[in-house]
Symmetry: C2
Subunit: 425 residues, 2 copies
């Protein structure tokens, strides 16, 4: 790329930032009805224009195929009528969520009669950087809109034609509801410098970045972004079977946590078995996993349980397999389990299985992860399962948003103070 093109991308992104900021201002004052009208009109436009979207997707698929993309990549990129309908239904579901903007979070009165309210406001402009999954265009754009935020969307370049066709439908919905057309913008070029510009914050016109994709994308964004990032790098999720665990619950929870879907961030990657119950329950858990087709990589004590277990290396304790593989270890009690999780975990989601309420309470208090569970599958780590309706992602940072990030956490707040002439002595 030559200097001229770089300059053009910089200018393009700067202009997108300015337009987003201007759109965010009016979007912050838009009524719930207007935002919902836009979301529903977007869904209608998606249904009405599915053939155009599929035509764009077909070109993306052809190019990706020629470039030698993997079947998994092609599957994520591929749209069909059912998938387009699901995207539209997602927007309709977001329309049905409560509007967080203007919600009174807290209200109190001071002795001098001042009434203070803390109310939710939009965050401003949200940048979403995602891989070649066309559906994220609508999911992320819709969630940002519902919370009164402008969005700047950057798709993986292999999905640009698909995303553009979907974005056209979003723009149609915005216009139909009388909302600013720049409320949701899609970066229209494949140039990777566009990402760099977003990471630098578009001259103060980008308030937060949400990366949606694999570890390399998220890692780059976390390392380089000069604006806050809502993300998790990986889900090194543990299930700890405590000495007082109910074996049937343990078997069901471990199986579900690991194997229901192996490719999601809430899938378990490490099994910790208490020494006191290793001999019997541990053996059954390991056999169940192996019988179900899961590879088990264990420490010496786990290896001794079953000849099919492979020896774990140090690396296994920090590997997010996203596959039918689990690392397993015998731990010496609750404190040892917590220490292992603190040392090797990623502060995403961790679970204890026990009938001992005191042990559960200690685990839930001391394990410093965004989500800590007692006697339930780690695959509940999901905004929908939390009742948030939808999520833009799961965050492991400690600032502002943590755990599943739904519309509510895409907001900020301000204080409204109602007086009757009070002055300060």
């Amino acid at each position: 790329m030559n200097m001229q093109q770089t300059k053009t991308v910089q200018q393009l992104m700067a202009t997108m930032g300015e337009r987003a900021r201007a759109a965010a201002h009016s979007l912050g004052l838009a009524s719930t009805e207007q935002k919902n009208k836009a979301l529903l009109a977007m869904a209608t436009a998606l249904y009405d224009n599915s053939s155009t979207i599929l035509a764009g997707n077909e070109l993306d698929l052809e190019a990706a195929g020629e470039a030698g993309a993997t079947p998994a990549f092609i599957d994520r990129l591929k749209l069909d009528t059912a998938r387009i309908n699901a995207i539209g239904q997602g927007l309709e579901m977001i329309a049905g969520l409560p509007d967080p903007v203007g919600q009174v979070m807290d209200a109190w009165e001071r002795p001098n009669g001042l009434k203070i309210e803390r109310v939710r406001t939009p965050l401003g402009v949200i940048g979403v950087i995602f891989e070649s999954r066309p559906n994220v265009t609508a999911d992320a754009g819709g969630l940002c809109l519902k919370a009164g935020n402008a969005a700047i969307l950057r798709t993986g370049s292999d999905a640009l034609r698909s995303a553009t066709a979907i974005h056209d439908c979003l723009a149609e919905g915005l216009t139909a509801a009388g909302l600013p057309e720049h409320a949701i913008q899609l970066v229209p070029v494949k140039d990777r410098d566009a990402v760099g510009e977003m990471l630098r914050g578009l001259h103060g016109n980008l308030d937060v970045i949400v990366p949606r994709g694999g570890k390399s994308l998220v890692g780059r964004v976390q390392d380089e972004a000069r604006v806050p990032v809502f993300a998790h790098l990986e889900g090194l999720v543990h299930v700890y079977i405590h000495a007082a665990a109910d074996l049937q619950k343990a078997l069901a929870i471990v199986r579900n946590s690991k194997l229901r879907r192996t490719g999601i961030c809430g899938a378990a990657e490490s099994l910790l078995v208490d020494k006191k119950i290793a001999a019997e329950a541990g053996r059954q858990l390991v056999a169940m996993l192996l019988d179900a087709g899961c590879e088990v990589r264990g420490d010496a004590a786990i290896c001794a349980m079953d000849p099919r277990v492979e020896q774990a290396t140090t690396e296994d304790w920090t590997t997010e397999y996203l596959d039918a593989i689990i690392s397993a270890k015998v731990v010496d009690g609750l404190a040892d389990a917590i220490a292992h999780i603190e040392q090797f975990g990623s502060h995403h989601t961790d679970c204890i299985v026990t009938e001992d309420e005191a042990a559960a309470a200690t685990f839930l208090r001391e394990v410093d992860s965004a989500i800590v569970l007692h006697n339930a599958s780690t695959q509940f780590a999901d905004g929908g399962e939390f009742g948030f309706g939808a999520e833009i992602g799961i965050a492991t940072g400690r600032m502002h948003a943590r755990g599943p990030v739904g519309v509510e956490q895409l907001t900020s707040f301000k204080y409204r103070v109602h007086g009757n002439g009070q002055v300060r002595p």
Copy 2:
């Protein structure tokens, strides 16, 4: 400075970061009783060691005097028995505040029986960079501790001996309560590179920075920090006198907002008078200010009200005087007032004076500032006045913390999920 010294400061700061992170871990699990015991023991240590603190302060004052410090600088630096007692009382007051850590912010049950709780957790490690005001050592350290956070404090170098003597008392209190001694650390060197290391985040061991001081300090921190910052650059605070204002309230609120204390961030810097009432109410407001010794810099319409008014320049609309000076302008109704505030304000604190509830509601909704007031003095922009007990500062950012930042906003949260064997279908 030579290379060797730079390396030493880097090592020093890196070690402080590691120690803070380790301390934060146990501090996050400390009981309320233990934290309060530490705070009260700190206060006792301050009272008991006041002569040592005053001796350190005397040396700081001498050195500052020899270096030609201004009387205002000397006044901020100076301690006496009354000021030391006030610092101790501040710590006792923090001990009396509710402990935010472990508070259940929200709790709900899912249709599948999962019980989900959102509970407050500490943020982690908080860096506080302040000017030569020794009291901030205890105020900031105490607030961070109460919220379960480790603190790394960096004082203005002219106050290092005073701050060190106060910090010794804090360390004594921590030890007395059995809390880690590195829960509150003071950067022990004057070297400015220490600030640079903090701005770069101490290798992930600093979660947020709070700058306490003037615009140049805050500006540098906001520009250069690679970690989140809780701060406001300036308070360009407006009072808008609407057409339906009660004149007596307007006179009292404007006088108090501007003149009660002119040097605080909640002091009004701009008066906006509605055109409809400019002739009579405007004239009285301007005369009141001038008679009270306040310089008024007005637009043409304000200048015409009184010969003592000076002509405002464009710069006046964006100047935080922190002095008995106010800029004043006649605006053409509510929308014009809001537009002026959006264009020139700093999103800190803004006020409308009116008896028209609908106009007030519009103002409170549309003005995008951390604090928006109706019929009350802008000098209520203060954590104590909000009922927070104490604040570490006022933030105008939109992420995480906004407005007065008390102990509650020095926390993060996590989700606790209680199940009974649930797995995901």
